[in-house]
């Protein structure tokens, strides 16, 4: 009952958060001295065309009225039209979001699957060669620029070895001959559940390099976080007591210690998920991955305010939900935490 109430209350909080975020974003973007109509009307437009477009789009109205119209539009499911793409922002988001989610989720899974064991090994073999190696890898993953890593992987696996595609989500031949039926928008899942193996293979091959590039940061994060927490937990009295009881070391490490050390890593990972949705734009750019990050960065450069506000609201939603999920997971893993 308590948890249910807690979740409902947190979800209701979304309404004022949305209102405040949309207001701040809208005002900040609109008071910047830039005229998005220049994008709307095209490169050589006349003053008459610009003025007509200004009236058509309601940009001649006072700012508070523009905001009111925007908010009313949101309640009708209308996030406005993008000044760059000339398409509804909601359509653009639905076009680009699945690709981002697929890439970021894959990268996070890789981050967890690789990062956790490495972190544990690193803690268990403190100051040994394994620890130094994983530290080197973690620091490299966190500090090396993603665009550089991405280009390096492209050179290696596309240009020189020639076993992986260089960019995109699917090769054109597959796209034409084995089109994927859109169900979730995740190519890997859609191709799998429709039994389109050729497309699955192609989509998987296209996902490897960008996902690996994007995963390097979470891997580094998880390795260091897990190592630190594991070292702390392994020094606790109850671990010593467990060992004294003769409990096998694997059980001590993975059942007792890791369970208590995993929470901070999970929290960090889940929170970085929201950031990666738009923060992955460099990876998306290099691999021509049609994601939300690249869309948002173009909108920001072009002062495409409808797209900026739309994406900001979406990312707000993801952050709030991610925080909620983390809180619930923490409460589940740690009985001392009570959600009220």
């Amino acid at each position: 009952m308590g948890v249910k109430h807690y979740i409902i209350r947190r979800l209701l909080l979304l309404i004022p958060i949305f209102f405040i975020v949309s207001l701040i974003t809208f005002v900040v973007v609109r008071v910047v001295p830039a005229d998005p109509l220049i994008l709307w009307v095209g490169p050589h437009a006349t003053a008459e065309q610009i003025n007509r477009a200004r009236i058509e789009l309601g940009l001649d109205k006072p700012l508070y009225e523009q905001y009111y119209r925007y908010i009313v539009g949101i309640f009708h499911g209308n996030l406005g039209i993008s000044f760059i793409t000339h398409r509804p922002v909601s359509t653009d988001i639905m076009t680009f979001l699945p690709a981002s989610l697929e890439l970021v989720t894959t990268a996070m899974i890789i981050g967890l699957v690789v990062g956790l064991p490495l972190g544990v090994i690193s803690a268990k073999r403190k100051d040994k060669i394994e620890d130094h190696s994983s530290r080197l890898m973690a620091i490299g993953g966190v500090s090396l620029p993603t665009f550089w890593i991405g280009m390096l992987l492209q050179l290696l696996f596309f240009k020189y070895i020639g076993i992986l595609p260089v960019c995109g989500r699917l090769s054109w031949a597959v796209k034409v001959s084995y089109p994927i039926t859109h169900i979730t928008g995740f190519y890997l899942i859609d191709s799998l559940i429709t039994g389109n193996w050729v497309a699955f293979q192609d989509a998987a091959a296209h996902t490897i390099l960008p996902a690996l590039t994007l995963a390097l940061y979470p891997i580094g994060l998880v390795v260091r976080m897990t190592r630190t927490c594991m070292l702390e937990v392994l020094g606790e009295d109850y671990i010593r007591a467990a060992r004294a009881y003769g409990i096998p070391e694997k059980v001590v490490t993975y059942t007792y210690a890791l369970k208590n050390a995993i929470t901070p890593s999970l929290t960090t990972l889940v929170l970085s998920f929201g950031y990666s949705l738009t923060g992955a734009f460099l990876v998306e750019l290099i691999f021509n991955w049609p994601g939300l990050g690249w869309y948002a960065s173009k909108a920001t450069i072009g002062m495409d305010y409808t797209a900026i506000v739309g994406v900001t609201l979406l990312i707000t939603l993801f952050y709030v939900l991610a925080n909620l999920v983390v809180d619930v997971i923490q409460a589940y893993l740690d009985p001392r935490i009570v959600l009220k």
């Binding site: 830039a34 005229d35 095209g42 490169p43 610009i50 260089v166 050729v198 009881y245």
Partner: protein, 541 residues
């Protein structure tokens, strides 16, 4: 004492886990290698790339205005066509035309047997419908038809344009934007938004088969009923990708996954010149870069001598060689070579710091004393403009002038330029190219006087009634007396050069990296960056 055994969760035993893992790995590996990739299609496929994003935005033929002509010029056709070799207007959907003596009435005789991609017939009523819809919509480059008063259908294949004022309509009909007839029946049936889904209703050799918005991929297929016919060499299908990362496109080109790229950074181009699989094809363009100088108070550049002084501080040759790696030539006035109004005899400012210092002193700022820093704005992200700004800053510093460089987004740069006079920039870096093969748009759009509330590209804020009359008259006589128009445009440019209304920096040379096997690509400066897909084919060595 018995040893206490602690319970361990063993839903899956180790052996079971290993077996499952082995089965999964074997299945994945087998699946990976057993599934055959799709067999290459029998048809001839051309793959092209555009470095950038949001390339194909304006899909409605009544709104086209930008880079979508890279493909849409192979999908739609105009009444006339600019031939870049003979530098004349040639027939396309119109087979011939005539003009009245007062240049107020243009009669076009249309080609028979032409079909739109939807199967409907092309005739005079479709021309009238398309152009009138463009004018009424008032979007994109539709203003090119501003001179048209009405359109008369004389018979099924003859159409007459009656003008409000004399204008070179055969040249206007050449335009790459908003000049193409399209099917009225299907336009009315499907409406504006249908075009934006990636559909077309043109008469050209290719039609749009698919537009993938997310991946910015356009698939074109040859139109079997094309009036021009097919030789069999052409591509059956064309794939056009927009890819933002130049390094990625370069790899695709070098590995043969892409045949032609619209452009690549010059560093990459120079590097690829050594690659025997790549051909670097160059051609003169009608695109040029200049710096519009603020000729009005309170800008210090309202002082003509100061404008002249800083014009002598531009290292023109260095700009061509260092910024564009030699793929540019110093501008002669504002109109580039190959188009009416250009003249190699027009005076040029050269790089001469001694002269610049003299003029600076005459302007009342010896060694730059008492001169406030000049503000230069450019489009952030444009590497050529950034390099120019930095080179120019260093040169101006040599004569005691400080340059304050402001990299801005395009929208912010334009907003600043159209703002109150005291907030405007002093120098506005900018590119221009014509909407149709006529010099008027250069002369009009940047230097014709306008009311302050109508400022768009008139960022030199130039105000000279004599100049205004001269270019307006030149535009009117172009259709009947091109020689006279040439003289007038030359005179107008001499005025601009004498008044130093802009820094006339350089005219671009197009640089296209392509596979050596690709044949038939020709740059036509009247259609900037439009790929002539119908002429291209693949020929193995």
């Amino acid at each position: 004492m018995s040893k206490k055994v602690f319970p361990q969760k063993k839903a899956v035993t180790k052996i079971q886990a290993v077996i499952i893992a082995v089965i999964i790995v074997v299945a994945v590996v087998l699946g990976w290698f057993l599934i055959k990739p799709p067999a290459p299609a029998e048809e001839k496929v051309g793959v092209f790339a555009w470095v950038g994003s949001d390339v194909w935005v304006f899909w409605d033929p009544g709104e086209t205005f930008s880079n979508e002509i890279s493909i849409l010029n192979s999908v739609y056709e105009g009444l006339t066509h600019w031939d870049s070799v003979s530098k004349t207007v040639k027939p396309l959907l119109a087979t011939s035309w005539s003009v009245s003596e007062d240049v107020m009435h243009w009669t076009f005789h249309l080609r028979e047997g032409v079909k739109f991609h939807c199967g409907h017939k092309f005739n005079a009523s479709t021309v009238k419908y398309s152009i009138e819809r463009n004018i009424e919509g008032g979007k994109g480059a539709s203003y090119i038809w501003a001179c048209v008063d009405n359109i008369e259908i004389l018979d099924e294949y003859t159409v007459r344009f009656n003008l409000q004022y004399p204008a070179p309509l055969d040249v206007i009909a050449c335009a790459g934007y908003c000049s193409h007839p399209y099917c009225p029946i299907c336009t009315e049936e499907h409406g504006h938004d249908w075009f934006y889904e990636g559909h077309d209703l043109g008469t050209g050799p290719y039609y749009v088969e698919k537009y993938d918005k997310a991946e910015e991929l356009v698939v074109l297929r040859k139109f079997d009923d094309y009036w021009g016919g097919w030789t069999g060499k052409e591509f059956d299908k064309v794939l056009m990708y927009a890819i933002p990362a130049a390094s990625t496109v370069r790899m695709m080109l070098e590995n043969g996954e892409v045949f032609l790229v619209d452009h690549l950074p010059f560093e990459m181009v120079k590097d690829m010149e050594k690659n025997p699989k790549i051909r670097i094809q160059t051609a003169p363009s009608w695109q040029n870069m200049f710096g519009l100088l603020n000729t009005q108070e309170p800008s210090p550049l309202s002082n003509k001598l100061l404008r002249k002084a800083i014009s002598y501080a531009v290292p023109y040759e260095v700009c061509c060689s260092e910024i564009r790696y030699g793929y540019a030539t110093q501008s002669h006035g504002i109109i580039p070579a190959g188009i009416l109004g250009h003249s190699d005899t027009l005076p040029q400012y050269n790089y001469n710091l001694t002269k610049a210092r003299e003029l600076l002193a005459q302007a009342g700022y010896p060694d730059g004393e008492d001169l406030e820093p000049l503000v230069l704005t450019y489009n952030a992200g444009d590497e050529d403009e950034r390099k120019f700004a930095e080179i120019y800053k260093a040169e101006l510093a040599k004569i005691g002038v400080t340059l304050d460089i402001k990299a801005m987004t395009w929208t912010a740069q334009m907003a600043k330029a159209a703002g109150p006079p005291e907030e405007r920039q002093d120098i506005f870096l900018f590119y221009w190219w014509p909407d149709y093969p006529d010099p008027y748009s250069w002369m009009l759009s940047m230097f014709h006087s306008v009311a302050p509330e109508d400022i768009v590209f008139e960022c030199a804020y130039y105000d000279n009634p004599y100049y205004d009359d001269l270019i307006d008259e030149a535009y009117k006589v172009t259709g009947i007396d091109p020689a006279k128009a040439q003289e007038m445009y030359e005179e107008a440019q001499r005025i601009l050069i004498e008044d130093a209304a802009a820094l006339f920096i350089y005219d671009w040379t197009y640089v296209r990296p392509m596979r050596v096997e690709l044949k038939g690509y020709i740059d036509n400066p009247a259609y900037p960056n439009a790929f002539n897909l119908y002429d291209m084919y693949w020929e193995e060595k």
